[in-house]
Symmetry: C4
Subunit: 229 residues, 4 copies
Amino acid sequence: MLEELKKVVYEANMLLPKYGLVTFTWGNVSQIDKETGYFAIKPSGVDYDKLTPDDMVIMDLEGNKIEGKYNPSSDTPTHIELYKAFPNIGGIVHTHSSWATSWAQAGRGIPCYGTTHADYMYGEIPCVRCLTKEEIDGAYEQNTGLLIAEYFKNNDYEAVPAVLCKNHGPFTWGKDGHEAVHNAVVLEEVAKMAARCETINPQVKPAPQELQDKHYYRKHGANAYYGQK
Amino acid sequence: MLEELKKVVYEANMLLPKYGLVTFTWGNVSQIDKETGYFAIKPSGVDYDKLTPDDMVIMDLEGNKIEGKYNPSSDTPTHIELYKAFPNIGGIVHTHSSWATSWAQAGRGIPCYGTTHADYMYGEIPCVRCLTKEEIDGAYEQNTGLLIAEYFKNNDYEAVPAVLCKNHGPFTWGKDGHEAVHNAVVLEEVAKMAARCETINPQVKPAPQELQDKHYYRKHGANAYYGQK
Amino acid sequence: MLEELKKVVYEANMLLPKYGLVTFTWGNVSQIDKETGYFAIKPSGVDYDKLTPDDMVIMDLEGNKIEGKYNPSSDTPTHIELYKAFPNIGGIVHTHSSWATSWAQAGRGIPCYGTTHADYMYGEIPCVRCLTKEEIDGAYEQNTGLLIAEYFKNNDYEAVPAVLCKNHGPFTWGKDGHEAVHNAVVLEEVAKMAARCETINPQVKPAPQELQDKHYYRKHGANAYYGQK
Amino acid sequence: MLEELKKVVYEANMLLPKYGLVTFTWGNVSQIDKETGYFAIKPSGVDYDKLTPDDMVIMDLEGNKIEGKYNPSSDTPTHIELYKAFPNIGGIVHTHSSWATSWAQAGRGIPCYGTTHADYMYGEIPCVRCLTKEEIDGAYEQNTGLLIAEYFKNNDYEAVPAVLCKNHGPFTWGKDGHEAVHNAVVLEEVAKMAARCETINPQVKPAPQELQDKHYYRKHGANAYYGQK
């Protein structure tokens, strides 16, 4: 079942090594089928160069495995909480991509220093706190998802489709798995340039709000005029 | 019409991913035909791996589309102002290349620290100010071009064929699209080495004026002796 | 003899250039056959692109060459001391990989700043002191091994399968040559992100102990649940 | 004439882009034939991907072109002075490789921080001063060679086969063109790790003298035991 979903999720997963976002098995992509409420996700700890579409695991939002010969990614409970909290998304990515993870390890959100960032993400990319000992010792991966969801109760998850988890790494999302991967690439590039720009000018300030507005709304919303819309 | 122009502009655009200067669709090259006053430019938001020569858009300097099935790059009004202000150029490039953009985000011009820079660009590569709210809310892309043109009223656009736009990224130009791409590669390399050299020696000073003169005039002007001239 | 061992050690050695861990001949992998007590190791100073399985040198733990037309790696006495001191390992890697070597040259151990590190290595990756003049002028390579062994008398070599030698570079190990290479890749990635994260936040602190515990024990020991176990 | 020399010099030149040491035409290799006293060198400003063995230019040590359809590299007078001053070398390389050039622009020699450096170069890699206005306005390229030669009157050019020219870039040399390229690769790697190691530990000190001695003499001189000697 859901052969087409498994295929596109496989393809989105294979983009992670293509774009240099993963070492070994350090990343995963999922995508949800809105009709059935099932989602497909990468199996846990399987090498990218051995992966096939058929290896994708089909799960429901209660965490039951519907189909698949492998265990799903150990981050599956995080994906579930994000699908529950963000009704308009269709795909999720987790990586340990080098620059984004360096910011996460540093415990800092990524300020919006320019239009590359503003074209895709509206304002600072947040870094949510480390989980408490209780949260870690309990349902760790689920609690990671709940913490992200909590932050976005008061923030627009569609305007900022990315988050850093302190001492851990990034999650990104989008309308499907491919868009979530696209946002993971953007995040890595933005994270790299933000770090370098702080080295070049330690007193650097975020881009003016009107420039952030201009670039974000040039590509998003009713008045967008970028591309072939 | 202008089939040859579309072909060379296509080829110049394809050099951007080849040289690692663009992620996704974040860049564009144009080239002008001096006889007709028309220029060809990359369409907006079209993936490089799907691009064909036929996708190039032909525009005039009043901003009218002369030919093409796509919308032109959203940066087209910037290109137009540069063609109007810089009569001796034939090609323009815009990218978000990583190191040059980091300097632009940092809001700093790139000092001439050595002969790699001096071989191509005479003196500091300027970083022009961010646009005002009025300029951004108005004809943003045109105003970007006007601001660059304003700076070069009192500076030699042929001696420094590159500029950084604060919080945004670089533009470069040259006698045609290929030379503009060449200068974009040089800019990125120079931006990288300038940042690293400031880390290695925070007190570093620009190269002596006589060395800058020597290298620039070794390759440019009546007494050039570099290459096969 | 030991044709299979020579083949896998050859393959593990060839992974070093594949993963970008070595320049020229600056690295070596060995793997031990527990039954005979012999190990295979890369010959000294032979280019990777000319290497064949047959070029691997078979040694015993007393340092006698059992088979092979070449001299073994000059680091062979270090490998021998590690095999003697670490009974549960089957493979060893030495490289001059760029980021790990930069930490070694800096004389600092790598703090555990996040889960990428904690997934593989439990706590700080140590940097052992430089050898004394006597140790250097004597049996230098053997003394390097003895110094590492000394450190791990009071530390768990299975929980931290990597070490930096001050002013020199890293050694990693694992259950076989391939796992030792895997750990060398992890070390390099972790070293890179730790350096960048200190630049992004000079006041950064190691990840909380409970997070380090969680990630390490999620993948190791009786209660591991990562992967397909 | 000297067909074999042109072929090996061509091959050595083609290694520069292979190892990522040059952008466009920013580098050149030469090699001398001791019998005739002629040397072959890359032509000036010719693209690497159009280069053929036949394009190499044959020069004598008085600067006369003996054979070749192109102008020789504009750095030819520097090569000549080095061949005159360093009787035991057979090949010379000049590049603008990124890390080495960053040190040159910073005006600092590269301290010996570890064994990677010590394996090839004995002690700090010097950065010679910028030329004076008189030296620049006169026979600039020749004066560059004379300045390097001057430095090595009191220093061992065989023990340190590399130099940085302030605000310019590196030269390396060796027994032939290939060894000079080899040393250019080592220099770039050492320059990269030295810069990173100073960022990781701003108080870092050079490696102890006895370690530098050990590694250098392990590979060089009568008692060398590295490799297959």
